[in-house]
Symmetry: C2
């Protein structure tokens, strides 16, 4: 049985055909243009494969509340051509097969849960720290969905006293994303993050903010595994710094059996999104 | 079918006999002494009723990870007689019927979900703001459990610039509980909270911190209903203040259909804990 998967991102669409064991048969990456141009390429790719269902992990914010009339519609994105776009409607029109829709981060989390660093961890949190910060969550084998969907990158944390940056989030100023995303790093130092590699104070502050956020996720979700991915996490020294700070901040209030096992890197090499999108077909309800 | 329920709190044990429709047949409140004295009274109460199962919502922190050897044991409580006490072992020894164990806040949340302010809300968060701050969560009809259990009162939030108080939490200083619990209010102003009733700045700051925390819970859990209970919330003006601040802080980043419907008061008049404890029998797995 062949399944289609789409990691529908703001800059690129990754489309793949695979099976229910995480095997990818074919894959293509399409730059995200307007909906019409993009879906023309997407359809062309899938046309030659007899896929029986399609799973999609989409950028957002996207309305995933089935009770809403705007269910399946992209909401307030700065990408004007996609703003208020009926993504689910388009998918159903282009693909007359069962379609499964979730957020990009939930799909990525499901991918790692099924085939990567979250294997066998019943509650797996996947955090991506890049231009923005987002997180997906798998609980008891399915992606977590609230009344709309979580936006975990936008939690409030405590700004460190010596940090004079006011924050880059247009909605919340100094929320987590406003203080610790790649965008925030560049705005704070007025230099691209990868040029700051040797600057210890940069990564010390970054680890401090990410650790605070992770402690909050631990206090709220108590996940068994926390996977940290995304461009900023290419600074591999961050893992050790974050683990140490998380342990200090939790201060034994809740038991952390092994922080090296708790906080880990992804294992699927940028394929977690599309593998998870395919996985949605087996884990989520048909829409 | 008669079911026993215990709301096992640090200051009192509420025991009740009820049915699976939320009806309470008999109820007693026992002050919490050491385990032996307390359980003697508990057994005496239940002896006359042919209960077929027992649900217990317990104070904590308590180990609820079934993979742990210490599963069912009270952990680091300041109440020395209960520290490291095998609560589940005692319950099973005293009551040779199926026993269901959860946190006190999860039981309270389940009570409100089944019979009170959370009715029909698939994801219901119950926050209690008293001496400490805790929260329970019901998701898809069952109480939420992570790898141990959430401790939502201990998330980090941003301390307001004009607040000179260093926080009352012995573990985290100025976490939410350290800044906004009843204990924090009394330590900050050196006056009992109920004597501060007319002092607007007290409740303005309190609403500010609780709103921040609620925004964080919204970003992580996206709950359909948020119920605010506990002693501090007897200051009823807090509800309106919190609703307004939550709306401001979210700043339309995620849709809040109706903030009056989202953030509400409990409806079960201090019976949510014991009714939820009875409800555990129908909603959780037998331990």
């Amino acid at each position: 049985m062949l399944i289609g998967g789409i990691e529908a991102g703001g800059t690129k669409f990754v489309c793949a055909v695979g099976d229910d064991h995480g095997k990818i048969v074919d894959k293509i990456t399409i730059p995200t243009e307007g909906p019409d141009e993009t879906f023309q390429e997407v359809k062309k790719f899938f046309k030659t494969y007899p896929i029986e269902a399609l799973g999609v992990g989409s950028f957002g914010p996207i309305d995933l509340n089935t009770k809403h009339e705007t269910y399946g519609t992209i909401l307030n994105t700065p990408k004007t051509e996609w703003k208020h776009y009926d993504l689910l409607g388009r998918l159903k029109a282009d693909f007359p097969i069962p379609v499964y829709l979730d957020t990009d981060v939930n799909a990525a989390c499901l991918g790692e849960y099924l085939y990567g660093a979250g294997k066998n961890a019943d509650s797996t949190l996947y955090i991506t720290v890049g231009t923005g910060i987002g997180a997906g969550f798998v609980y008891q084998g399915s992606t977590y969905q609230g009344t709309s969907h979580p936006e975990m990158g936008h939690i409030f944390i405590e700004k460190r006293g010596d940090d004079r940056f006011t924050g880059s989030c247009p909605y919340h100023g100094s929320c987590l994303e406003g203080l610790a995303s790649g965008t925030a790093i560049e705005e704070r130092y007025q230099v691209r993050g990868d040029l700051l590699q040797e600057n210890e104070t940069v990564w010390e502050l970054e680890a401090h903010y990410l650790a605070q956020a992770i402690v909050n996720y631990i206090m709220v979700l108590s996940p068994e595994r926390i996977i940290l991915g995304g461009g900023v996490m290419k600074q591999e020294k961050l893992y050790g710094m974050i683990r140490e700070k998380v342990r200090e901040m939790v201060n034994d209030y809740v038991a952390i059996d092994d922080v090296e096992e708790l906080i880990v890197a992804p294992e699927l090499d940028d394929e977690q999104g599309v593998k998870g999108a395919i996985g949605l077909v087996f884990r989520d309800e048909d829409v």
